[in-house]
Structure formats: structure tokens, C-alpha cells
Symmetry: C2
Subunit: 99 residues, 2 copies
């Protein structure tokens, strides 16, 4: 099974739904790097599963969820400028796992 | 020169800086698909150039800019759920250029 580096970003209005989506991301082994951003390695089928779960938990009329799959090469070229990472959540050790 | 599919997302506090970054994204031939999201094909050197320009225009203490490079395969697996795209800005014809 091939794996990818997943970058999940969301904009969820309701606290309850937002907390549930954060919980699912953690359950799938992703690391929180910003208030509404998670990163981590996922098997491709787990990536699609996570998308289905987010769809069940969100309100499609008000919320947005972006699930980005990256191969290692593309992932290394991501540019995060300014406050893209929450420095309280993310240190070099965590980032070195991905970049 | 290799090209990539670029997905630019930003969270900019000041209107003036935000408008300038949107203008630069348009100048680089990207398509606006949501209030603060642009998509398009860029040569890799132009992708890095755009990151430098964003760095000059933003306030690194308050703002965030994410520049995501995708190969075609990964790009096709992106999942955008709910209000991820602004339907007033994006129609199937535009999306078919990318997906």
C-alpha cells in the first residue's frame, strides 16, 4: 500500500464539529501544526477514509475542509510563510519528520 | 523547465497587503477559486519567485501564506469538501483545466 504525506486544513463554524474533526485527525496519527491544520503520513486508502469521515462531521453549507496529498518531493517544496505554523505546537524536531 | 500545479492560500490581516498578494497571483496567471485561494500552473522557478514576492508584501508577524506545489497525480487526489471552492468564482470548465 502506497503512503502519502497529508496536509489537512479546515474552516469549521461549529465548535463541536471542529473538535470532532481535530480528534479524528489525531486518531489517524496526524500532527497538529496550526489551529486548524494537521500534517502526517497516511496510506492512500486512509486518506480517502479520512475525507469521508470529515464529510460526515462537517456542515457542507458553511464549512470547508481541504485534504492535500503530497509525494515526498512535492512536500519538500511547500513554502509556509509568516505564521503558517504555530511555534507553540511545532518545533524543528517535529518538522524534520516531514521536511 | 518543469512546471507544477500551484495552490496558494493566504490569511492576511491588512486589506492593502491582501489585495497586493491577490494582484500578484493574478499576474502570475493563477485563477482565484476562493476568497483567499488561487490555483494554476507555474514553472518551478516562478513558484519560488512568487513565494519571495509574497514574503515582501506580507507582515510575517501577523499573516500566513501557504504555497503548495503539486504534480498532476497528487493534484488529482486533492479533496475539497463543503465550501472549499467559491461557486461564483469556479465552474466545471475552470476546474477541468486542473483536475
Amino acid at each position: 500500500m502506497s503512503s502519502i504525506l497529508a496536509w489537512i486544513m479546515y474552516d469549521i463554524v461549529e465548535d463541536k464539529a471542529r473538535n470532532k474533526i481535530a480528534k479524528v485527525c489525531k486518531k489517524y496519527g496526524l500532527t497538529r501544526v496550526q489551529y486548524s491544520i494537521f500534517l502526517g503520513r497516511l496510506d492512500t486508502n486512509r486518506f480517502d477514509e479520512l475525507a469521508e469521515l470529515c464529510l460526515d462531521l462537517m456542515d457542507e453549507d458553511t464549512d470547508s475542509v481541504y485534504l492535500f496529498p503530497f509525494c515526498q518531493d512535492d512536500f519538500r517544496r511547500i513554502q509556509v510563510l509568516g505564521q503558517g505554523f504555530d511555534k507553540k505546537l511545532v518545533n524543528d524536531e517535529i518538522l524534520s519528520k516531514f521536511f
